[in-house]
Point group: C2
Chain length 169, copies 2
Amino acid sequence: MTTRWLSAEEQRAWRSYISATSLLADAIDRRLQAEAGMPHLYYSILSRLSEAPDRRLRMTDLAEALKITRSRLTYAVARLEKDGTVGREGCPTDRRGHMAVLTDEGMALLERVAPAHVETVRTAVFDHLTPEQVGQLEEICGTITRAIQSGDPGTPGEDLPWRRRSCSS
Amino acid sequence: MTTRWLSAEEQRAWRSYISATSLLADAIDRRLQAEAGMPHLYYSILSRLSEAPDRRLRMTDLAEALKITRSRLTYAVARLEKDGTVGREGCPTDRRGHMAVLTDEGMALLERVAPAHVETVRTAVFDHLTPEQVGQLEEICGTITRAIQSGDPGTPGEDLPWRRRSCSS
DNA sequence: GCGCAGTGGTTCAAGTTTTAAACAATACCT
DNA sequence: AGGTATTGTTTAAAACTTGAACCACTGCGC
């Protein structure tokens, strides 16, 4: 099978995507690091917990929601626990399980930091998009998410003959 | 000034964006790690160089193109040099400067790996988007990029009263 | 020409994060 | 019971990032 290269339009969109996501991730991380002393992922953990019933979630559910490995989550929660923003409890119904619980201190941190974070997201993104574009963004990102999750990793391997095209960043 | 929280639609779009970018970055990194033994950023360096006149670029220009710090680039190029895919040369016109140069070996690696990478991007993204959506994606990402680059980091600070809303991940 | 601010790029030290593999404990199924 | 699958942690190693300090050079004003 010959390689299905990106068209010129796709190429442009892709480059644009790479720039935007890279810049945005950096901007958010920097801001959050300054305001809350933690990177975006850690903030997301607190945020998810704050919305969960009883401010607590099973580790696996949390990892699932954030699309990260359990190992990574364990590490992150360990740090948050040291910070005092998250606690750990055994799960009553499944003794293997553990719940991460947002502490009052964690909630307070979130309340203090959230406005700044929202402002970052707003000034970097939503202030400049029309309502239609917001809908388009959700639609496109949802499509990407589903495509990846329905596992569809593209056929591996297949060393193909080179035909001078862009290598898609 | 009171916090301008995200609307429900913005909230959904944002969550969707977070999931998609996180999953996509992971998928690309995993694939590239398997095929080329390097993460996406490093591949991007090779790719950019392959498109540059004479397969070479000034370090600063490369850092600029990839939106990363010079320090980070120095580290990355050092590794690529160790791998043999990139070389370093002094800049003829400015003796402070250095050029990163794609070696034949680097080019060969790129040629070997590009099809798999393009396939990843395609199956995760472009295979599922309409041409209109490709245009929308470019437009939206371009807007975000410009918003961030025109510095506009949102007013820092401002501890605001909490009104139970989502903390935007 | 000289001094000096600015640029290009690297180095260094420190810390953070990530990964993969192995592991213990428990649940579930038959 | 017994085997398998989950849950979540641990461990050790490696990879990466950061920020500050730093050197070499340029280019400008005087």
